[in-house]
């Protein structure tokens, strides 16, 4: 019976998605509200007085960045809570004693986190149409890229949820690392706007490549090489998978 326990993956997936439904208010409404506020302040209010960036109206320019900001933080927190809570309450015993390996666990937990992120992304993109005019030049690639980013950061969140041994650590990483890097990662500006020492420094920030990758699928323009963007996103995803495979192999923080 070696192979993939499809029923287990499905059972975890359904339960996790249902859990999100129970907290729809928190998991969907709150991020949508936050994003709308950004659109009102940066897109409508400030954006009205700004020049276009690279031929794109400022309000539209920030759409991919804002979408990414929400995707990163929500994917990370959804997946991290998804696996942290069972560890915290002790219900993880069942998962550990079941014929379930890394593949089923990821398909279930991370699959559910990605699903939530995609629903969220659609809602945000719909909300954005209320405030700004934007277009998506490569819609298929955009969807693919969003899925890739959502998967990568859900995997990252999963690692976070296994690493954290208290609630503080769970929120500290998104707050202290993810948020600043995303804000500095060209969410609200093109890094070409930065004077030189800062521009080179910005290029070390991996989020810059994610934002630009997504922006390219929207407007066909990017501050950095688009292949580099895709490569970095894929590389991050692969690194997360490798770390998780290692965690399951060694039982780190899962089995005593």
């Amino acid at each position: 019976m070696i192979g993939f326990n499809m029923r287990a993956a499905w059972a975890i997936y359904v339960r996790e998605v249902m859990r999100a439904m129970r907290t729809a208010m928190q998991s969907l409404l709150a991020p949508v509200l936050t994003t709308s506020l950004y659109f009102i302040v940066f897109g409508a209010a400030i954006g009205g007085r700004m020049d276009s960036v690279g031929g794109v109206n400022y309000g539209a320019f920030i759409v991919p960045g804002l979408l990414l900001l929400t995707l990163l933080s929500e994917s990370t927190s959804n997946a991290s809570f998804g696996i942290y809570m069972p560890r915290f309450t002790g219900t993880i015993y069942e998962l550990l004693s079941a014929p379930v390996g890394v593949a089923e666990t990821l398909a279930g937990f991370v699959g559910a986190a990605v699903t939530k992120s995609l629903i969220l992304a659609s809602i945000i993109l719909l909300t954005a149409t209320l405030f700004v005019d934007y277009r998506i030049e490569h819609p298929i690639l955009a969807i693919g890229y969003i899925m890739m980013v959502a998967s990568a950061f859900s995997l990252f969140g999963f690692i976070l949820g296994i690493w954290a041994d208290n609630f503080e650590k769970l929120s500290v990483v998104p707050l202290l690392f993810l948020m600043p890097l995303t804000f500095l990662g060209g969410t609200f500006y093109s890094i070409d706007m930065l004077p030189d020492p800062w521009r080179s420094i910005a290029l070390v920030n991996p989020i810059v490549y994610l934002v630009n990758g997504l922006r390219w699928t929207f407007y066909g323009a990017s501050d950095v090489n688009i292949w580099l963007s895709f490569g970095i996103t894929l590389g991050f995803l692969a690194a997360c998978v490798a770390v998780i495979a290692f965690i399951f192999k060694t039982g780190w923080r899962l089995r005593t």
């Binding site: 019976m1 070696i2 326990n5 029923r7 287990a8 499905w10 059972a11 975890i12 339960r15 859990r19 129970r22 069972p86 309450t89 002790g90 219900t91 015993y93 069942e94 998962l95 550990l96 004693s97 079941a98 014929p99 379930v100 390996g101 039982g251 089995r255 005593t256």
Partner: protein, 311 residues
């Protein structure tokens, strides 16, 4: 003995801090038997179960279940093992029925609402099927954990202190449930602090202390090996020393010279016969007595004797 369903060899667990919770444990469990693991707090019972169920990584030793070495082929074995943990940890916001159905799926079985209904009814949970688990009483929560463990029809079931903190009725329900499982051919390994439970339910008993399995045997042989009869004969007049007529018996006098104490036998009736012989010998020696108190040691005494020995 029938075929082994679980074979543990030389299992040792040293926790990260250096604490040795299991020390070279060897244990063989046959298919269909009810095995009770008896031991005081911190003896290593939960750790031993955890090692088999994949919660604890053994430091050394091998575990085979259904003939498969768990370090390699754990998947197929785990699908056939169920675990009711000691701690009451459940998904508090899930309704009962969904939580139980989830467990079945997690163990790779196709959904079967009729089977879930049967399990819930057998545990008197059917009325609570749509209730969120957090709204149930502690005893009910424990039933849910049992239902979850039974949801995939395991062939080997671990019950880690199934009757800790439950009322008399639930305990009796539990015994009935174990009886039914035995009839169905399910192998059950349970841990308990209550000797009566081990005596009532188990075919074999293992006594564990300080991570060492001190002794494993079926109840009768354990009694035969360690059981003792104790008798106190109150004499009519004090004796200064033991008369030669009764010197062949395992007896001694207490300091008052009034209480003649016999300790011997084997837990299977030899002791009683010897006490009868002893009284006849006293009569023949013209030593009068005014009272006899006789008792057989129970598994409890054996257990207490074993675990209270300094290690």
């Amino acid at each position: 003995m029938s075929e082994p369903i679980l074979e543990i060899e030389n299992l040792t667990k040293v926790f990260a801090g250096g604490f040795k919770a299991l020390d070279s444990v060897d244990l063989k469990i046959s298919k269909g038997e009810i095995f009770a693991l008896l031991g005081p707090n911190g003896a290593g019972k939960t750790t031993l179960i955890g090692a088999v169920c994949g919660l604890v990584r053994p430091t050394s030793g091998t575990i085979r279940a259904f003939g498969d070495d768990l370090s390699g082929n754990w998947r197929s074995a785990r699908a056939r093992i169920g675990l009711v943990p000691q701690e009451l940890s459940t998904d508090m916001f899930e309704p009962v029925r969904r939580a139980v159905a989830f467990s079945r799926g997690l163990f790779g079985r196709p959904s079967d609402p009729a089977r879930i209904e049967e399990i819930l009814k057998s545990l008197s949970l059917w009325d609570k099927r749509d209730e969120q688990i957090r709204r149930l009483s502690g005893g009910m929560k424990r039933r849910v954990l049992i239902a979850k463990a039974l949801a995939h029809d395991p062939e080997l079931l671990f019950l880690d202190e199934p009757t800790a903190g439950v009322d008399v009725e639930l305990r009796r329900d539990m015994w009935r449930l174990i009886g039914r499982l035995r009839d169905q051919g399910v192998t059950v390994i349970l841990t308990t602090h209550y000797i009566e439970e081990a005596e009532e339910m188990a075919d074999r008993v293992g006594i564990i202390r300080g991570g060492k399995l001190l002794m494993v045997d079926d109840k009768q042989s354990m009694m035969a090996r360690l059981g003792r009869t104790e008798a106190h004969i109150t004499l009519a007049a004090p004796l200064a020393e033991l008369p030669p007529e009764i010197a062949r018996f395992p007896v001694h006098l207490d300091s008052t010279g009034l209480d003649l104490c016999y300790r011997g036998g084997d837990g299977t009736g030899l002791g009683k016969k010897e006490v009868a012989d002893l009284t006849k010998a006293l009569t023949r020696a013209n030593i009068d007595y005014v009272g006899i108190e006789i008792s057989d040691s129970t598994l409890e005494d054996i257990f207490v004797g074993l675990v209270e020995e300094p290690s």
